[in-house]
């Protein structure tokens, strides 16, 4: 199941682009989607280029159990948010958002860990956000990285969810769309799915720290 409140069927092994204009709330939506998965005993690997791993872990821990959450933190080291940063069991650090090799090593380590725990029915990998990766590396470089990651998502029959703070129709990101099965657009209070012959729209709001979703439109 992709989400417990959204009446939509997305095949496992899908790679999903979660897009919207800057400040439209793609990061927040990505976190709420992960939260829903964690509550249903899925494992989540969250690759963050915007917020520190500790901050994300805290946000989740205020809402649900963090056992199934693994984070790849791409900013704490380069912004020196802390000194003497060392990997913990659930938060792994990468030198910077330029270091895509490092990102791939760290998510792969977390994958191995969750894979060996039977309790997790599914694993999803989230990147928040592709836009940061595209700021530091050119689109071909990000494409090659995503080529490996989306392939891995298919192999484990999981979900890949990648946020993008711009219009996916933007020609600059066109190559990346080849690797994507489904596009989710956030527009004001609407969440729109397209791909695999699906075209669905839901209304949503965030109320008292909860994601409230309306029926299909």
């Amino acid at each position: 199941m992709f989400h417990s409140k959204l009446d939509i069927n997305i095949p496992k092994g899908s790679n999903i682009l979660l897009s919207g204009p800057p400040l439209s709330g793609t990061s927040m939506m990505a976190k709420y989607i992960c939260l829903d998965a964690l509550e249903r005993k899925e494992a989540v690997i969250y690759i963050s280029t915007k917020e520190s791993g500790e901050k994300i872990q805290k946000w989740v821990s205020e809402r649900t159990d963090i056992k199934g959450l693994g984070i790849v933190d791409c900013i704490s080291k380069s912004l020196r948010l802390k000194t003497n940063i060392e990997d913990s069991n659930s938060i792994k650090y990468v030198s910077s958002s330029v270091d895509l090799t490092g990102v791939s090593v760290k998510y792969s380590g977390l994958l191995e860990r969750f894979w060996n725990i039977e309790e997790y029915k599914n694993i999803r990998v989230t990147i928040d956000s592709l836009s940061t990766l595209l700021m530091y590396s050119n689109v071909q470089t990000v494409f090659r990285f995503l080529h490996i990651l989306t392939g891995r998502v298919k192999k484990i029959d999981g979900y890949g969810i990648f946020t993008l703070d711009e219009d996916p129709e933007n020609p600059q990101v066109a190559p990346i769309k080849q690797l994507i099965d489904i596009i989710i657009k956030i527009e004001k209070n609407k969440i729109i799915f397209s791909g695999f012959g699906i075209k669905e729209e839901f209304e949503f709001e965030i109320k008292e720290g909860k994601l409230i979703v309306g029926g299909k439109k």
Partner: protein, 386 residues
């Protein structure tokens, strides 16, 4: 020759890396391989050589911290280690590196600095990530790499490259392979997720024939450690299997009842730069199903025989045929050689009708005589270098 600093790799390379040569670690994405270049550099700093580290993905301070994660303090080498910083300009921050690449997107700016610093023999020029230089500068960068390699060659310097093997074009891959003197593949094992890691020789142009493959683990601290997940010890009843496992192991347990093994012997071996887990099977026939179960996924097999008991050889031979059928590296250990009427190696070969291709190693497992020699020989077979 300089050492590669990687367990067992020097023997695959014919002793080490000759002066003037280049080595590329070709790293599968998702596998922790960039440590290979770092380890080669660190080993040589330790031995008093000079080194250069070219960084494209973080500033020198963070690189130092990365080395520290493996227990390697590089700050103590002072000006024997030079940093070339191709990262700070990229994100617009300050740098205190000795050499700053002002335009990391322009391959000429690398060439200028590399020209300047390559003057001495035995200097190890380490590229933290050649693939990211390619990403930044485009495919044309390869022509420059080719020139750098000629320059290293002329100056007896040594070029060490980490390269993440992203899905680049075949052209790039072929060309890269051409311009390097040695290429070592660093890869992952596992169908759906990566469960183990190995390195193996793809090319060594200063040797007639070069081969070798080995699994590894990364220790923090410690770095790359050769690792053999499963070595099997089998053989007839009372041959000395449990004793053999104990003699090889730094830690071991066996489940024995009245002096015979009723479950597995388990041992962990740390020998030189190799670690291995070793499993001994019970010798009695009623336990054969266990043998079948644990022979799966074994990397190599010791067949222990009691050199004083030719009547047990047929049983030994049938156990040997079972494992041989799986194509596993195997050696025969002729144990209890200390006992007077023990048969000699030649007599055993003759009686068991073993071809010359199967090695027989004499041991006295109680006094630990020959056991490590046997281990060495099996490891060489597992590596594919023996």
């Amino acid at each position: 020759m300089i050492p590669s600093g990687i367990p067992r790799l020097d023997s695959f390379l014919g002793g080490g890396i000759p002066e003037g040569k280049t080595v590329m670690y070709l790293i599968q994405p998702e596998v922790e391989g960039e440590i290979f270049g770092m380890q080669t550099l660190y080993k040589n700093l330790e031995e008093g050589r000079k080194g250069v580290f070219i960084t494209t993905k973080s500033d020198p301070q963070i690189i130092k911290e990365n080395f520290e994660e493996y227990g390697w303090d590089i700050s103590k080498y002072g000006d024997k280690l030079i940093f070339v910083d191709a990262y700070s300009s990229l994100i617009g921050s300050e740098s205190d590196a000795q050499y700053l690449i002002k335009n990391p997107n322009d391959i000429n700016s690398y060439s200028r600095i590399i020209n300047e610093i390559v003057e001495e023999s035995e200097t190890i020029i380490t590229f933290g990530s050649l693939s990211s230089i390619l990403d930044l500068c485009g495919d044309d960068a390869i022509k420059h790499v080719e020139k750098w390699n000629k320059m290293f060659n002329a100056n007896n310097a040594i070029g060490v490259y980490n390269f993440t093997n992203w899905p680049y074009s075949e052209e790039i891959k072929t060309k890269l392979n051409e311009i390097m003197n040695a290429v070592i593949r660093v890869g992952g094992i596992g169908e759906r997720v990566i469960l183990g890691q190995y390195y193996g020789i793809l090319k060594v142009d200063w040797l007639e024939k070069a081969k070798g493959n080995l699994m590894f683990k990364i220790a923090k601290p410690g770095g790359v450690k050769a690792f053999i997940p499963k070595v099997l010890v089998t053989g007839p009843f009372n041959a000395g299997k449990s004793t053999f496992v104990r003699s090889l192991s730094t830690r071991s347990v066996s489940v024995d009842r009245m002096g015979t093994t009723v479950a597995l012997d388990k041992g962990h071996i740390e020998y030189g730069d190799i670690t291995a887990d070793i499993f001994g099977t019970p010798g009695q026939e009623r336990f054969d199903p266990i043998l079948k179960f644990i022979a799966n996924e074994a990397m190599g097999v010791f067949l222990i025989i009691d050199s004083t008991k030719p009547e047990s050889f047929p049983r030994a031979k049938s156990m040997l045929e079972k494992t041989r059928a799986k194509g596993l590296p195997l050696i025969v250990v002729a144990n209890k050689q200390d006992i007077q009427h023990a048969l000699s190696i030649e007599e055993i070969r003759e009686k068991m009708k073993l071809p010359e291709s199967i090695e027989i190693v004499p041991t006295d497992a109680v006094k630990k005589k020959g056991v490590f020699e046997a281990f060495e020989i099996l490891i060489k077979k597992i590596e594919g270098s023996g």
